[in-house]
């Protein structure tokens, strides 16, 4: 305080209490309203690099022929996954994040402009391969789904609890490889339940098709 020295300046203290992510949250609310207006159901797929996110979208699209599916594909550098999905004959909007480790609501907003003219009924957002950063960024989705493959090791829920915290569902994928890896499905289910008792679990394999049906039913509901 400078009142005493008479230099004509004083200190002003302002209570803000504003979340550091509040701007993203505001944009996410706008996205959510937009999606709702157009009747689009939005699923944000979050998982490590190579977890099986793109494969899961491919398998899901094949099993939902009656449903118009679209994808927003977040890739740090390349358009490879976007091209892979375009081959299914579905609309895909690619977001190259230029090295950024997560999608945010603004990127999704921009990308959705490409799809909004004929909006899909079900929109997958494949987030950047990363279990850490995407967890903080609401995109305006209806469902956040963590894709965790059994080859990643069973300590992932303990290491990245934030990712599981707000997930509506966890897809435990590549279960066809269970005989070859140390991955105790029951223990992982127990850890996930500790973090987020509401999360639904879908153990499945895109390779064999095992377990896909409950996942498809979940999306239909």
């Amino acid at each position: 305080m400078c009142e005493s020295c008479g230099c004509g300046e004083r200190t002003l203290r302002v209570t803000v209490s504003r979340g550091l992510l509040s701007e993203n949250e505001r944009l996410a609310r706008e996205n959510r309203a937009w999606f709702k207006r157009l009747g689009v159901r939005v699923v944000n797929l979050v998982g490590s690099p190579g977890a099986g996110k793109t494969s899961l979208i491919e398998a899901t699209v094949r099993r939902l022929p009656e449903c118009r599916v679209g994808v927003i594909e977040g890739d740090p550098e390349t358009r490879r996954d976007a091209e892979r999905l375009s081959r299914l004959g579905i609309p895909v909007a690619a977001v190259t994040t230029g090295g950024v480790c997560h999608l945010d609501a603004r990127m999704v907003h921009r990308a959705f402009h490409e799809l909004a003219a004929s909006p899909p009924e079900l929109l997958f957002i494949e987030n950047v391969g990363n279990l850490l950063c995407p967890a903080d960024f609401d995109l305006g989705e209806d469902l956040t789904v963590v894709v965790l493959s059994v080859t990643e090791g069973e300590d992932k829920p303990e290491k990245y609890p934030q990712a599981f915290r707000r997930a509506s569902a966890v897809v435990l994928t590549k279960v066809d490889l269970l005989p070859h890896v140390d991955f105790d499905l029951a223990r992982v289910a127990e850890l996930i339940a500790r973090i987020n008792p509401e999360a639904r679990l879908f153990p499945l394999s895109v390779r064999t098709g095992e377990g896909l049906e409950p996942w498809i039913e979940f999306l239909r509901a």
């Binding site: 300046e9 200190t11 002003l12 302002v14 803000v16 550091l20 992510l21 915290r165 973090i195």
Partner: protein
């Protein structure tokens, strides 16, 4: 982690508030970081130091980090306890609990220098 993105948003917010208050300078501000927020305070501070070099207006602005410990309340017996997502209630061993604090990522308070007119 995206600490860099977080501090960039923070800087914009500080400058916006400075404008709003018609202040001369931002003297210092306090950010609450919850123990379970996923943000590493060291990395956050480091990101701020780098960012500060890019904003002449923040060169002398001090950042105070307030680390908020995680606290839970047992849904069964009502006991409050510190811990993480995996902790069981120390009273009744139940895993069912409500988070009371620890996920904060909040700009709480800002101190400005204003001219007295």
């Amino acid at each position: 982690m995206h600490e860099a993105g977080l501090v960039a948003a923070l800087a914009e917010e500080l400058l916006r508030l400075k404008e709003r208050e018609g202040a001369q300078r931002v003297l210092r501000f306090t950010v609450e970081i919850g123990e379970l927020s996923g943000v590493d305070p060291e990395a956050f501070r480091w990101a701020y130091e780098i960012l500060r070099e890019m904003y002449a207006e923040l060169k002398e602005t001090e950042m105070i980090l307030d680390l908020v410990p995680a606290r839970f309340r047992c849904k069964i017996c009502g006991r409050e306890f510190p811990g993480d997502y995996f902790s069981l209630c120390p009273g009744c061993q139940s895993p069912e609990k409500t988070l009371l604090s620890g996920e904060e990522l909040t700009l709480r308070e800002v101190e400005f220098e204003v001219a007295d007119v």
